[in-house]
């Protein structure tokens, strides 16, 4: 009888109930909030749901040495996490993204690409902020990329520069992407007048299929010759796009834009969530990262809007400066938000298509920025 009791007691000390501390409880609450936001509020559910559930799974306390945790070698999660650590998942996500993206609106109005460039100011301003707060250059570069508002890019760069920060940076990046409807509209309204928000964009010209097919070739060559370190992201992005636009490999394009990106998103979200184990995640640095991430995202939004206003000073054809906010690459959340803010002023003003052009250029811009930061930091 005593042996049975001892076995029960021994088992009891190995349970999560026994091992739990307040830190795990906090993380589990955060995971539940993510799940709530995804299901009830429908904020980026494709990302927040796997991440939220990953946070729950990653914060079940367990006895170290069983080979269960994501940071323990030979554990199942550790193998799944391989795709994050090496940057494989972000590349695959970019492949699918390319296969889903229609660059027509960008091809029809290439000058909107400048708004995508302007929005990357958030990244480089935050780089300074992170250095100021005492982060090492590689950590600062990884934190700064949150300003690109592109989850896969943030994870990719952090995996290369500061793998120990993947958890907080990924969570911050995806949180802010989910919180676009909360963060961006006040900044947009603050920086624009009603008259500016009412500006209507002219109908873009029709883009031929040949143009759409040539674009990925030109895009990958021009961008990657300039910043070869952006190859792991832009290579798959433009490959996916040419699969779609060529029209001769519909099977591959369909697979890339559905099964492949979905699989990568599930594992990416889940393992990133699971990597936020309380003892690794709940540190003062994580709070700083969240604060810097918020700054990065806000500055990126503001830079895009302000640059839109500056462009209006010099061009005959006025553009709606709200479009600048879509220069952050949170596809399609920020474009949708720009459209909604525009429609609040004038319900017949359709900005979505134009905002998607800025969004697409933001994706390219943030990938170039990631490549540039990687090349700057690699020898530091």
């Amino acid at each position: 009888m005593e042996e049975v009791l001892q076995l029960f007691l021994k088992f009891g000390t190995n349970t999560g109930y026994y091992l739990a501390s307040y830190k795990y409880i906090i993380m589990i609450i955060i995971g539940c909030v993510f799940i709530y936001l995804a299901i009830a509020k429908k904020y980026e559910p494709l990302l927040l749901l796997p991440i939220g559930f990953g946070i729950l799974v990653g914060n079940v306390p367990f006895f170290k040495g069983f080979g269960l945790g994501i940071y323990e070698e030979n554990s199942v999660f550790h193998y799944l996490y391989f795709g994050v650590r090496t940057g494989v998942y972000p590349s695959i996500v970019f492949l699918g993204l390319g296969a889903m993206t229609d660059f027509s609106s960008l091809l029809a109005r290439p000058k909107l690409m400048l708004l995508g460039a302007a929005a990357q100011m958030g990244i480089f301003t935050t780089l300074l902020g992170a250095l100021y707060l005492g982060f090492l250059p590689k950590e600062a570069g990884s934190i700064a990329i949150i300003g690109g508002a592109d989850g896969p890019t943030s994870i990719f760069l952090t995996a290369k520069l500061a793998p120990h920060l993947i958890g907080p940076i990924a969570i911050a990046a995806y949180s802010y992407m989910a919180l676009i409807p909360v963060i961006q509209p006040p900044i947009m309204r603050l920086l624009t007048t009603r008259k500016e928000r009412l500006i209507r964009m002219s109908e873009p010209r029709e883009v031929s299929k040949k143009e759409r097919m040539i674009f990925p070739v030109i895009g990958v060559l021009l961008c990657c010759f300039l910043a070869p370190t952006a190859l792991p992201l832009l290579g798959p992005l433009f490959l996916g796009n040419i699969l779609k636009e060529s029209g001769v490999v519909n099977r591959l394009a369909n697979t890339a834009s559905s099964a492949i990106i979905d699989t990568a998103t599930i594992f990416l979200g889940f393992t990133v969530g699971a990597s936020t184990q309380a003892d690794v995640f709940l540190t003062p640095n994580s709070i700083k990262i969240f604060l810097l991430g918020a700054c990065a995202f806000s500055i990126a939004t503001a830079s895009g809007v302000i640059f839109g206003k500056i462009m209006n000073l010099f061009s005959k054809e006025k553009i709606n400066p709200l479009l600048g906010a879509a220069g952050v690459s949170a596809v399609p959340g920020s474009a949708r938000e720009v459209h909604l803010v525009g429609q609040k002023e004038d319900p017949t003003n359709y900005l979505l298509m134009h905002a998607m052009a800025c969004n697409a250029s933001g994706v390219i811009g943030s990938a170039i920025a990631a490549g540039v930061l990687w090349s700057f930091m690699v020898n530091l």
Binding site: P110, L114, G116, A117, M121, F124, Y132, I218, L380
Partner: protein, 148 residues
Amino acid sequence: MQGFEAISHYNGLAMAIVGVSIVFMGLVVLSFAISQIHRLLIFWEDRDIYLQRIKNFKNRILNKNQMDLTKGECLLDDIKKTAQSYVPLIDQLDKSFQLVDLYNLAQQNDLPHPHLTITKFRNEKLIIPEGAGSFTWNFQLSKEKDKG
């Protein structure tokens, strides 16, 4: 290390400025390149027209070299050579033609001073009126001038 000291120590400002510049440069170049794609495509699709224009231009230069004439005055002074250059045009017209058709052909082939030249042909009786606004080429006189 933190604060401005850290920014200065790690060349933060330089990294930020160069980084922003590279991103801008990349996207500006890309936006310029894609703004030209449709123009290049239009050029490619109309390549036959452009090739024809190049051919015509080449022919014109060759013709000019053959004639060895660069000035209209020379052309008008040397009626024999001028008539030789008009014979291929006359061949393209009916036996009985209108002066305006010859004039148009001469212009299309970029022959200098077609109006003056045709007037000179009429004065020299190389172009003979047939009545009712029609004219014909005086091949006999033309051959005699060739021999002369």
